[in-house]
Symmetry: C2
Subunit: 111 residues, 2 copies
DNA sequence: CTTGCTTATCGTATTATTACGATATACGAT
DNA sequence: ATCGTATATCGTAATAATACGATAAGCAAG
């Protein structure tokens, strides 16, 4: 990718892009859905649900955690995950605001 | 990435992931913002706004077009782009529904 | 038809992502 | 302490994404 130019974009756009990147794989969408359904979940259960190896699931969980969309805590020998409600709602608001601005301006389709 | 397992996920999740992927780069977020502000835009103007080469901007436009978030039409020697309102709103609804389900289930933070 | 302008595509280099197996770590139970 | 279970991380391979310059293609004007 040669050299990244991402730093040259405004913080707003970087942040939204980053959240979207975290959701840019169906496994991570599925994980969030499952966490929403069950409230919380241990890693092993997610591995059973997904068509992926344990190490791969662990990687996806790490990506979601780094994007602050989920939180994890250690529960004995397991890892319990749940949605990071506060940040997840920030993401929803960010997309929502983006949508409102967009929809307001485009009443009729321009092209 | 070895072999992709994406086909093994439900259509819903694939679709949402695909839209999110289209928004996973700040340049593409910026392009959508600009299109929302101005209604429509020719490629050259977007190139002036972004810290990227013309060919790179063209690539990002192609990505957004393939995700059906924008539409393009030829206008003499230029290319005019605008948001594909119908599909963009499908995306917004998809994220919104996802959010509602999530927020409803998680009244109190579990972990 | 040639020139100049605009945009898309091609080729290519660099970097990031995705996936897995193997291994390391951490804990509970025996 | 040892064993079994659960999870994270490392190493690595394959693939995708990002960025640019160069080039091609399309149109308008002269």
């Amino acid at each position: 990718m040669a050299i990244s130019r991402k730093e040259e974009f405004p913080d707003n756009d970087l942040k939204l892009a980053d959240w979207c990147k975290a959701l840019s794989h169906p496994a991570r969408i599925a994980i969030l859905r499952t966490l929403a359904d069950r409230g919380e979940c241990i890693c092993g259960d997610l591995v059973l649900d997904l068509p992926l190896a344990q190490s791969t699931v662990s990687q996806h969980l790490k990506a979601l955690k780094e994007a602050k969309l989920i939180k994890g805590e250690i529960d004995g020998p397991r890892s319990k995950y749940c949605i990071d409600k506060k940040n997840f709602e920030k993401f929803l608001k960010s997309v929502g605001d983006f949508g409102i601005k967009t929809s307001n301006k485009i009443k009729e389709q321009d092209c």
